[in-house]
């Protein structure tokens, strides 16, 4: 007997499409139950959410605000990678009773008035120059480039295993007169002195 006949003889009713459908429906249900919270998101959606959290978990000296009603300013330097997402996430939000404002800055003169300065990877200006330009101002510098923290930046985003992580330089943060909460430090990937 040919092998194919042997096999044909063994076939004892393959599952009908209906049974397969039921199987898929069941699996779908199981998957539904299995799934916990939260989806994946775009890289810059997450980074934007982190910026908002930095505003919450870092303390700025009162002197960095003109008055009690002055807004909290998040600035982007260089080509803005966020598009609408940073605006969306900060819209109608407050930090310590202060409204959040988002804008781009082109030069360091204006950057000094920011609370958080996101230095986009497109910025070609040497880090040394940025640090010099911000000296004495309480600006949290957040980078998106390899080596940002090593060159004197405060917080730097890194992608690891498809997740957004960040490194913190504690010294750089404290030198600017900012206080960083231990909660934020505990989430950081690398905390350098």
């Amino acid at each position: 007997m040919r092998i194919a006949n042997l096999i044909a003889a063994k076939v004892s009713g393959a599952p009908s499409p209906r049974r397969v459908l039921r199987m898929v429906a069941l699996l779908t249900l199981l998957l539904g139950i299995a799934y916990a919270q939260s989806p994946s998101a775009g890289e810059y959606q997450i980074k934007a959410a982190f910026l908002y959290n930095f505003a919450k978990f870092v303390e700025w000296p009162a002197s960095s605000f003109h008055d009690g009603a002055a807004p909290f300013q998040i600035c982007v330097m260089g080509r803005d990678p966020f598009g609408e997402v940073l605006l969306d996430i900060t819209r109608e939000k407050t930090v310590n009773g202060r409204k959040l404002e988002v804008g781009t800055v082109a030069d360091l003169e204006h950057a000094r008035t920011c609370h958080i300065l996101f230095v986009a990877s497109s910025v070609k200006m040497p880090m040394q120059q940025i640090i010099e330009g911000l000296r004495g101002a309480s600006v949290l510098t957040v980078g998106d480039t390899k080596g940002f923290v090593e060159q004197g930046g405060m917080i730097n985003f890194v992608l690891q295993d498809d997740r957004v992580q960040f490194d913190v330089s504690r010294t750089a943060v404290e030198q600017a007169g900012l206080k960083i909460s231990s909660k934020l430090l505990s989430v950081a990937k690398v905390v350098s002195k």
Partner: protein
């Protein structure tokens, strides 16, 4: 819906098909209901998410690609490096097994893929296009895309695979017939200095890999080498169950070894890539009339290429130019079984050598608001497409010289007619020095019905150029040339719904109809009784698919899909095509077990009945695979353990025309352990 009411003569099969389309209707109804239900749900604001959660959300490393997947003028699946690791995929074929609409057959030499009900036995994967970083990997003699262990790249070097179903000749030309598989390899940015990996598994299988990646300022360097060796199994083929053939038992004939080297240098907009790949596989099936249980029956496939690419903005234009040089070789000695008892065994070798040069230039720009134009041109000069003479002494390659030239022009435009409606249309003209010209259009209408709802209507044409071995077969004196052979054509129409369900799930479903004409088939010529490849026959497929996928912040992710295709020949009585499973179902689930340090990857695949070449029905089967992956903090060390075909299911794939077996048994349960270190 109109897809299912085609005018046709009433026959029992037509009735059956109508009944089947009722099932499809019901699915569509359910789908439409869930789609409307899902559209009303809102997105949870990321600003409400805790810090810990934020740092745990998986970014679609391809965020822009995933985005483009929903905007893409096709049905797209993306498989990431993370999934490759967590599911324990061993080669590209393993990845494709998990992809909706795809099924894989293995003849214990090469691995072949069927897409949406078409898996022609005798085809050399020439109806799919496999790109490595945009570089065409199908060779220029058989049009063959390598998929199994014969594939050119170590699966661990893949960053991401994008699988695009449906015809794409309007962009890529030949071979982009049923699907385009574009894999993006890892670069220096994704490898931290040294990475060493070793694996050992069933059937005396060992594999080692060393990879080095570093970014020296602007210069990115990546180098990787892989070595694989497997003793293979002792196999039983009932076909040969007689005393002269060792009672059908063959050992030391299933061996396999391969070597890969991949080097990628990046400097500003330049990418220089070099690839070397060679594989040696014993053939236990005794195909092409070989002596059974003879280890001197094997194949050596090799493919090397060097490519240089340049991407740069010029004013408002984005320029993408590239050139590459490929060479592919096959050497396949076959110890021919003597026709008369006592005659000596003659070792005849089929060989080919292909050399080709490719030049490509593409420019794109925003023409006006919401309008993106792409123009491109490609030249492929097939310097050599030589096949070796079968009747020559072993390993003496006497080439039958052949060469050809292909030139192509294409244009594509993506136009946001309104903020919700996008038209994506393109056309490509290819000119072949062999058969002349062919023009292939594609058009897609994408309607954003709601924030998370996309409706797509897709239409496309594609062609599969006659390959050299079909125009001038060099398999012996019983084959005639056919210099008038024309390309095969496919016309495809598809409607899809892509729906985000809440924040965790994505549902995708579609119905399609494929019509294939001028199928290149091997026919017997009445005048002299010889064989010849001719354009003979048409075929059709009606199908639907539905896929639910989802992922959570804690690493839990998965997908479940169901496909149903009815593929049949247009000849009298509409006989079903062979190697075409009606239903297919797939399940993939990654479950994090201990924090992010240990995960389990579970896969299940169900394939419906398939007909063999002799019209026997192969039993449907389910196969489950399991992989446990653990790693140390900082990912300095990974340890993975896999069990393939956990339930030890005995199942068969259909044999090919050259195989003496009508069905070939597949691997039972097997194991693998893998350790990877990073320094």
């Amino acid at each position: 819906m109109f897809l299912f009411y085609r005018a046709s003569t009433k026959s029992p099969t037509t009735e059956k098909r109508r009944a089947r389309s009722q099932v499809l209707f019901r699915w569509l109804a359910i789908l439409a209901l869930t789609a409307t239900a899902g559209a009303q749900q809102d997105v949870k604001d990321l600003s409400e998410v805790s810090l810990e959660e934020l740092s745990n959300i998986q970014v679609y490393s391809a965020s822009k690609h995933m985005q483009s997947a929903s905007e893409a003028p096709a049905s797209v699946t993306v498989v990431t490096a993370d999934e490759i690791q967590k599911y324990g995929y061993r080669n590209l074929a393993d990845i494709l097994r998990s992809v909706p609409g795809f099924y894989v057959t293995y003849d214990r030499d090469y691995t072949f893929v069927g897409v949406r009900g078409f898996g022609r036995l005798g085809d050399w994967n020439s109806r799919i296009l496999v790109l490595i970083d945009g570089h065409r990997s199908n060779n220029n003699v058989l049009g063959q895309a390598m998929l199994g262990n014969e594939f050119l790249v170590d699966v661990d070097m893949i960053e991401r695979v994008e699988i695009v179903r449906g015809p794409s000749s309007s962009l890529y030309g030949a071979n982009a017939f049923f699907a385009v598989i574009n894999l993006i390899t890892r670069t220096s940015k994704q490898v931290k200095d040294w990475e060493l990996s070793f694996q050992t598994g069933s059937f005396g299988t060992n594999e080692g890999r060393a990879t080095y990646g570093h970014q020296f300022h602007d210069l990115g360097v990546l180098l990787s080498g892989t070595f694989y060796n497997s003793q293979g199994q002792t196999l039983f083929f009932p076909q040969f169950d007689n005393p002269t053939n060792n009672n059908g038992i063959t050992s030391d004939t299933d061996y396999e070894s391969y070597k890969h080297i991949l080097a990628t240098l990046t400097y500003h907009g330049f990418t220089l890539q070099g690839l070397f790949s060679t594989r040696d596989k014993g053939v236990p099936t005794a195909y092409f009339g070989a002596v059974f249980n003879d280890p001197s029956d094997y194949n050596i496939d090799s493919h090397q290429y060097v490519s240089l690419d340049y991407q740069h903005p010029i004013g408002k234009w984005q320029l993408d130019a590239g050139t590459s040089y490929d060479q592919a070789r096959l050497q396949g000695p076959v110890p021919e079984a003597p026709t008369m008892a006592g005659d000596p065994v003659i070792l005849s070798t089929y060989s080919f050598r292909g050399n080709w040069w490719t030049g490509e230039i593409k420019v794109s720009r925003d023409l006006f608001e919401r309008n993106h134009l792409t123009l491109g041109s490609e030249v492929r000069d097939n310097l050599r497409q030589d096949q070796g003479d079968l009747l020559n002494p072993p390993n003496a390659f006497t080439p039958v010289p052949n060469s050809s030239l292909i030139t192509a022009l294409y244009v594509q435009d993506e136009w946001g007619i309104t903020s919700r409606l996008t038209l994506n249309a393109g056309v490509r003209y290819d000119h072949y020095s062999t058969f002349g010209g062919t023009t292939n259009p594609r058009a897609a209408l994408i309607f954003r019905a709601a924030e998370k709802t996309r409706l797509k209507l897709l239409y496309g044409n594609a062609f599969s150029a006659p390959d050299v071995y079909e125009i001038s077969p060099d398999f012996g004196i019983f084959y005639n040339d056919n210099l008038k052979l024309q390309p095969e054509h496919i016309q495809s129409l598809e409607a899809r719904v892509e729906q985000g369900l809440g924040q965790y799930f994505q549902l995708s479903s579609g119905v399609y109809r494929n019509r294939i004409s001028d199928l290149i088939s091997l026919v017997s010529v009445p005048s002299d009784g010889n064989f010849q490849y001719q354009n003979a026959g048409n075929a059709q497929a009606l199908g639907m698919d539905v896929e639910l996928s989802g992922r959570a912040t804690n690493g839990l992710q998965g997908k479940a899909s169901f496909d149903y295709v009815d593929a049949y020949s247009d000849s009298v009585g509409h006989p079903s095509l062979n190697n075409s499973p009606g239903p297919m179902a797939k399940l993939n689930l990654i479950v994090p077990l201990i924090d992010q340090r240990l995960s389990a990857g579970v896969e299940g695949q169900f394939l419906g009945r398939r007909l063999t070449l002799l019209q026997d029905s192969l039993s449907s089967y389910q196969v489950f695979n399991l992989t446990l992956l653990g790693h140390t903090v900082g990912k300095h060390l990974d340890l993975a353990a896999s069990v393939f075909n956990v339930l030890d299911k005995k199942y068969f794939d259909p044999g090919r025309p050259e195989d003496p077996e009508d069905a070939i048994q597949q691997d039972g349960r097997s194991f693998r352990i893998k350790i990877t270190g990073r320094f």
